[in-house]
């Protein structure tokens, strides 16, 4: 299941290079063809929606209140990940150096 989800989204970034090579589309690995990528995105979207919808049928008990509310894990997982990416990006401005930084040592 997880792999299915990974793959659709994964292929998104390949969309552009794949399209750029459109004359060779037939030669591309089936996984990186634009049509497959589109299908995988659709499949992934449907699965995410289904995961939230199923929660209506499954009783999820929270421990602290907020975590028991509907679709908590979905939005929480999404929100904290975006926050962490942005935090990393921000810290990167201060911490990042050329990867040859220590080479002269």
């Amino acid at each position: 299941m997880a792999k299915k989800k990974n793959t659709p989204a994964k292929e998104k970034a390949q969309k552009t290079p794949a399209k750029a090579k459109s004359p060779d589309t037939e030669k591309l690995h089936w996984l990186v063809r634009p049509q497959s990528i589109r299908n995988l995105w659709i499949g992934g979207g449907v699965m995410l929606a289904a995961l939230v919808a199923i929660e209506k049928a499954v009783h999820t008990h929270g421990y602290f209140g907020l975590d028991g509310t509907f679709a908590f894990n979905a939005w929480y997982g999404f929100a904290v990940c975006v926050a962490m990416v942005i935090a990393a990006k921000g810290l990167g401005l201060i911490l990042k150096r050329e990867d040859s930084y220590y080479d002269g040592d």
């Binding site: 299941m1 997880a2 792999k3 989800k5 990974n6 989204a9 994964k10 292929e11 998104k12 970034a13 390949q14 290079p17 690995h29 996984l31 990186v32 992934g44 699965m47 995410l48 995961l51 939230v52 199923i54 929660e55 499954v58 009783h59 999820t60 008990h61 421990y63 602290f64 975590d67 679709a71 908590f72 894990n73 979905a74 939005w75 929480y76 997982g77 999404f78 929100a79 904290v80 990940c81 975006v82 962490m84 990416v85 942005i86 935090a87 990393a88 990006k89 810290l91 990167g92 201060i94 911490l95 990042k96 150096r97 050329e98 990867d99 930084y101 220590y102 040592d105």
Partner: protein
């Protein structure tokens, strides 16, 4: 009991490793594969209680003391040595495998050490073994990295030694039992353990050194040092609240740095710190559920992290490239490595039906049971973050992403077999958690597979995945590294010393020059006085002496008469 039954299993691996360089060809390969299996059987057979006692000075050492916790760690260390040996057998030098087995054997020695002296001896042997693995297998950059690694571990070892000596001096006991960080001695011991656990702020040694090892070398390195630290913390400091803070910091430190990193094996190195953070948090919570969770997570972590590093090591070996910006699209020609890498990535992310799901969730459950609300929310956020930095980032940038044009085949058979073995274990333990639960230190009252748990975990992880792909433009790989605490000792100290030399050098020279001039002057004076032409060297006629003697006698006479 027979000698074989009482002999320390760790030492069997250490001594057996020393035989490896003397063997050749098939005999050598067979021995490399059979030795860890013999040790595994010996470990399995260690009963509860003290098996061996040895007199040393005024103390009675207990080098083999068994219980469920010791056996759990020793078992996974033996399995790891086998799989690591299988993976390394054709691309690592024999001296490297020898060092790796000495390293693994001393880790098993630590797991069975019933007293602090034995513990310390194996602890230091581990540092030497791991440094040798780095030195013998790594490239050009490995030498200075290994030296920094060794210095850090000598410092950690010194802290531990100070703690142990003070502890023995004040309590008179050498037994290694549960303690509290409430005295100088116990604090020093805990800090010594935490250095090896790569706890902040001294975690930079791990991503600095490990990725410089050979492909097989890093697989070994990922397993033993940090996990023996987890073991000694579980046994020595369960329920020490400060560990929760250390652990949570490590968890987020690992995620943020891994997100910034471009080198695939450094991503996984940061992810070791992240995962050990979960375990340290569990040890800090300290309930039976939490300690079981920490121990189980160490067990499963060794397997999936080794699997991830085998996958990354295979890519490195077959392409010679280690930067995400140079890789991509490898799934087309390395299908097995890709699948095994993805299984490792799903396991580290705690996906249902993989080993991480049945171990990490016990730590979160313990936080919930103890009503540690903030800890629970942070652990949930961190679980999502693991999927982000290791679960998707690693396989995506290495195997998919863009077509790098590289078409290397899967690695040789032995490496494929090692990956298949560990991938099977990741799924096997995830689907059938019973056997692992039955060897945990405390009875397990936990059911991982409930509809609610599976659903909430899937929601958390898959929406994290969505966030990854939406944020992908923000995560464009750059040819950079990120500064860490090691900057202090790699740059700041050397730069400071250079600056001080620039400032004080001329002053120092002036002082020396004037001191030298003064000294020369003094020598000149003394020379004039004592030298061959000096006053003292003049020959004085005997008449002068008689003159002065008579003068003295006259003065004496006059004084007498007065």
């Amino acid at each position: 009991m027979t000698v074989i039954e009482t002999f320390p299993p760790g030492l069997v691996l250490v001594l057996g490793a020393l035989v490896v360089p003397f063997l050749r060809g098939t005999a050598q390969k067979t021995w490399i594969l059979v030795l860890p299996l013999i040790v595994l059987v010996l470990v399995w057979r260690v009963p509860d209680g003290t098996v061996l006692t040895v007199s040393f000075l005024d103390y009675t050492l207990t080098p083999v003391t068994g219980d469920a916790l010791s056996r759990l760690f020793a078992i996974i260390f033996s399995i790891m040595a086998f799989a690591g040996g299988l993976f390394a057998i054709n691309h690592c030098r024999e001296i490297e495998i020898t060092a790796a087995y000495i390293y693994a054997g001393s880790a098993i020695g630590v797991a069975f050490a019933g007293d602090l002296i034995t513990l310390f001896l194996f602890w230091e042997l581990m540092a030497l073994g791991s440094t040798t693995v780095l030195l013998t297998g790594g490239g050009q950059k490995a030498m200075p990295a290994a030296m920094r690694y060794l210095l850090m571990h000598i410092m950690g070892g010194s802290l531990l030694l100070v703690g142990i000596v003070t502890h023995i001096d004040t309590t008179g006991s050498i037994a290694f039992v549960a303690m509290k960080p409430d005295s100088f001695a116990t604090w020093m011991m805990m800090l010594g353990f935490l250095v090896n656990a790569a706890a902040a702020p001294l975690s930079a040694w791990l991503p600095d050194a490990y990725p410089e090892a050979s492909p097989g070398g890093m697989v070994f390195l990922s397993a033993f040092t940090t996990k023996t630290a987890v073991y000694v913390l579980i046994r020595g400091f369960p329920g020490s609240e400060i560990l929760i803070f250390f652990g949570l910091f490590m968890v987020f430190y690992g995620i943020i740095y891994a997100l910034l990193e471009n080198d695939m094996r450094r991503i996984l190195a940061y992810s070791i710190v992240n995962q050990v953070g979960f375990m340290v948090t569990g040890i800090g919570i300290g309930t039976e559920m939490a300690l079981n969770g920490a121990a189980a997570h160490a067990f499963t972590h060794i397997i999936y992290k080794a699997l991830l590093l085998m996958s990354a090591g295979s890519v490195l070996l077959m392409t010679g490239k280690r930067k995400c910006s140079d890789l991509g699209g490898l799934f087309q020609s390395m299908p097995l490595t890709t699948v095994c890498g993805i299984i490792g990535a799903l396991s580290i992310s705690s996906f249902p039906l993989t080993s991480g799901f049945i171990s990490k969730s016990m730590i979160s459950q313990a936080a919930a049971d103890e009503s540690l609300m903030i800890v629970w929310y942070l652990l949930a956020a961190a679980s999502a973050g693991v999927f982000l930095h290791a679960g998707i980032k690693f396989p995506w940038f290495v195997f998919f992403q863009k077509d790098s044009g590289l078409r290397p085949p899967d690695p040789p058979l032995n490496m494929r077999l090692a990956m298949i073995l560990f991938a099977a274990l990741c799924i096997g333990v995830g689907v059938f958690p019973g056997p692992l639960y039955s060897i945990l230190p405390f009875p397990v009252d936990y059911v991982p597979y409930t509809a609610a748990h599976v659903l909430t975990m899937l929601q958390l992880l898959l929406f994290s995945g969505l966030a990854f792909f939406i944020c992908l433009p923000l995560m464009k790989r750059t040819l950079t590294i990120s500064l860490d605490v090691d900057w202090l000792y790699r740059r700041l100290t050397s730069a400071t010393i250079r600056k001080l030399i620039a400032i004080f050098g001329p002053i120092d020279q002036a002082i020396r020059a004037s001191a030298l001039a003064g000294l020369n002057q003094a020598i000149g004076r003394v020379y004039r006085f004592l030298g061959p032409e000096g006053v003292m060297a003049r020959t004085i006629p005997a008449g002068a002496m008689v003159y002065w003697a008579v003068t003295l006698l006259v003065v004496y006479l006059v004084l007498n008469l007065i």
